[in-house]
């Protein structure tokens, strides 16, 4: 038995990705750490869970003294399995990432990294997802590692409001150029789809999803603004999706089947 904080580490790039290795290094001094992460990349899985096939969960020795498990499912599956089958009490902290690539603005919706954190928050675990705005496999995680340590310390020290998790994105810059941290809102931006159309060897069409990120949100209180101006962006995220401001408007509608 130990009264050190119990920390669950997950991600969506898979248990062998440099980003999750960095994350373990960043927080392992803060408590008892257990890694439960996908056995293969699960980017853009959104909040998918696996109901139509069974899941595997296997112990690994990838992290030396730190217990680690790889799971055949999605990031949300990893968190669900960790809570039910690996931990003997609710973890004190869930950290997800560090993602190879940004999860700012609308990407929070598509992100597997963030779905692990959202699932943790639904379970009542203080949770945070980290992403570095650099897609390359051998990205420089040195600033992101410091950010992860600082944010994990903050959450363990201060706690998070009920129903709130954090989406933390780190710009692709040297620490010397960091302007600081910015608590901000999700920018109102989107992906403009452009499917790449090709013909297979049998002359049948197929499509690759590509797209252009478009940000028409000019606010200086957004995560996109923060990242473009060399700040770490910290967005509080909720999983109550109710648009409360629209309720009174919808009450003016006619719901009579006979009219």
């Amino acid at each position: 038995m130990s009264d050190r904080p119990l920390i669950l580490v997950s991600n969506d790039d898979g248990i062998t990705a440099p980003g999750i290795r960095t994350l373990v290094e960043a927080i392992k001094h803060l408590g008892e750490v257990i890694v439960v992460a996908p056995d293969s990349p699960q980017s853009a899985m959104g909040h998918a869970v696996t109901i139509s096939r069974p899941l595997r969960l296997e112990k690994t020795n990838l992290y030396g003294d730190i217990a680690s498990y790889q799971c055949s499912g999605t990031p949300a599956d990893c968190v669900k399995l960790a809570v039910d089958k690996v931990f003997h009490r609710k973890p004190d902290l869930l950290v997800s990432g560090i993602n190879h690539g940004s999860n700012s603005s609308i990407n929070v919706i598509y992100s597997g990294t963030m779905s692990a954190a959202v699932e943790g928050a639904i379970e009542g675990i203080p949770s945070v997802g980290f992403s570095l705005c650099d897609f390359s496999y051998d990205a420089d995680f040195s600033l992101a590692k410091k950010v992860a340590t600082k944010m994990a310390e903050n959450i363990l020290l201060n706690g998070l409001p009920k129903g709130v998790l954090l989406n933390v994105n780190v710009p692709k810059i040297l620490e010397a150029n960091l302007q600081g941290y910015k608590v901000c809102r999700q920018a109102n931006a989107k992906w403009q789809e452009e499917f790449n159309e090709r013909l297979d060897p049998n002359n049948r069409k197929y499509y690759w999803l590509t797209g252009k990120f478009v940000n028409h949100d000019k606010g200086d209180d957004t995560d996109e603004w923060a990242l473009a101006n060399n700040y770490v962006s910290v967005v509080p995220v909720q999983f109550d999706l109710t648009a409360h401001h629209a309720i009174s408007y919808l009450n003016t509608w006619n719901y009579n089947h006979e009219q």
Copy 2:
């Protein structure tokens, strides 16, 4: 050319499911309808999109005079492909469903039905997801069909606020017992995971996700309350996940790397 409303129909149970057939019947008199739906069931896919493999999109004749396409991807993929490759202008309405099974409260996060509607809303299309609280293949969709017609009429007539879509759930009751429609908030409920552990023929463990739905939210303004009291629940949903109320609290934290 036609100035009738252009309506995109999708779902997550797949293009041949009774629920989507009912939905097409419910709204086909309201405009020009095009169906773009998954070629296989995609329940619980959350907001997954397909980036690591190519997609197929094939014309079908499943709906007679109504144009229909089946897609090898997720519900969100279907909407993206429809917007980029099928429609020649932005649709005036997206309807998703009718799902076989509830998507009330926290299920909005896991639901493929709702992810199609969320993707539509991100694209700027007035969007709604419909679900019937009955998982069976041969469920009675007669009330749900009337609800779909009424809600589609309302959206085409009145429009929806920017960034807001609707999550509509229909109780498993006869219309004679319907108390009406209730505009409400997402109940604060969750799934209590209980993985079912088994041994395969090689004596290796595997797990099936099962769970118990737990609702500790006693409010009478929630979707769970509405459905339990024989109302259709209408929840306005947003994809700005920012927990604005937490921003000032997070500004009290220490973000100095040296401390």
